[in-house]
């Protein structure tokens, strides 16, 4: 995913996957029918990425594994509520995991203590991890649209989505007034939507 060419955005024309595209929608719908192998195939296919996403937010490996455990149980129990007409199964799966992770760090008694190096690590926010292989995501379009935002606004979006920071935490990390951060995020989302349309 490192080599991106602005303008090539249609899904499926990026790097070839080694095997046939995995059908996430069918897998989730098979879960709804009680077919356990389908959940296992989702797990085999996606768990290392999902755990990475959870770990980034909760910053603690045992807790991240708890999040992934709870999320897969939730996916199994609620697969019948997934509606492919409303979005992709993979998007749904990541939302389940991310919200589980956000819950874990936003419990009143579990306020996350921020890694002092977090901001430094994210000075290059927006650089996709280049060495983790191709996941068949059409990252190019979003990357191009994020690159159109001013750097601090792009960082806000990444802090929120990837690190799971609240408005307040972003304001603190970026030493920027809360109202400014809120308005940057609002406008960045609007700009991304327009750019991706």
């Amino acid at each position: 995913m490192a080599a991106t060419v602005a303008g090539t955005s249609s899904a499926g024309d990026h790097m070839p996957s080694h095997d046939a595209p995995f059908d996430y929608e069918s897998a989730v719908m098979a879960c709804a029918r009680g077919e356990r192998y389908a959940l296992q195939s989702l797990y085999q296919r996606e768990s290392r990425w999902l755990l990475g996403v959870a770990l980034r937010i909760v910053r603690d490996r045992p807790r991240a594994e708890d999040v992934l455990h709870d999320a897969f149980v939730q996916v199994w129990q609620h697969a019948a509520t997934f509606d492919p007409a409303l979005g992709s199964a993979r998007g749904w799966l990541y939302t389940v995991v991310r919200h589980r992770a956000l819950n874990a760090v936003r419990q009143p008694d579990r306020l996350v203590s921020l890694d002092p190096d977090a901001l430094a690590r994210w000075s290059d926010a927006g650089q996709a991890e280049a060495n983790d292989g191709d996941r068949g995501l059409d990252a190019d379009s979003l990357e191009r649209c994020l690159d159109r935002l001013e750097a601090p606004r792009k960082a806000c979006v990444v802090f929120a989505f990837v690190d799971g920071f609240t408005h307040e935490q972003i304001a603190e990390r970026m030493a920027t007034p809360l109202g400014t951060v809120k308005s940057w995020i609002r406008r960045s989302l609007a700009a991304l939507k327009e750019c991706l349309a």
Partner: protein, 237 residues
Amino acid sequence: MIELDDAGQRDRAAGEYVLGTLDTGERVAFEVALGRDPALRALVGAWQDRLLPLTQQAPAAEPSPSLWRRIELSLGVADAPRTRRAAPPWWARVRLWQGLSAAGLAVSLVMGALLLRQTVPEPAAARYLAVLESPDRGSTGWVVEVQAGRTLRLVPVGDVGHVPAGRAWQFWTKPEGAAGPTSLGLVRAGQTLELPVQRLPAVGARQLFEITLEPEAGSPTGRPTGPILYVGSTVAL
């Protein structure tokens, strides 16, 4: 609070819901709305797909070899009592969306209770939900679930703090059009309160529920005398 009647605000809220920047109160209210609003679920689906590529900014992490086994064991327990349904009714969908947040989890317990009751074939009684928020901080503290002819449940969903020494929290309701509020008794921090609905003057939509700060033995006048800590009104489910 988000106005979900406004098209621009709906889409913005869906984006921030997926991004993860709604505060607890907004998130609970949003998830309640999601359960009954397919168009809103479609907006969320679109934002999920727009932002999905950002998930690859987190480096992969290999799960412990035992994690899948743990999940499988939980499935064995979790799916045993469940019966398959051809088409889940809308309130089953509500449970998923509300399962997505901690505060929502409390709501989903409420919905879960409704789900269990649904298995007994009885005429459907009207159900209502109210999210009680702090007027000062805008944060959600409690959710009220009430079903005509049955029970009212007041469930803590946020960090409501502690009752100050020598004071009490008193729970009130005022049905739409009623002259004044009726006391439903004192509540304790962090505890679910259950009441038979016969204690309520009425049950309906836009019914106000609130918690006020009162003297230790409750309001001496039968009317709220202290500041409103949490307030919200019902929506029909």
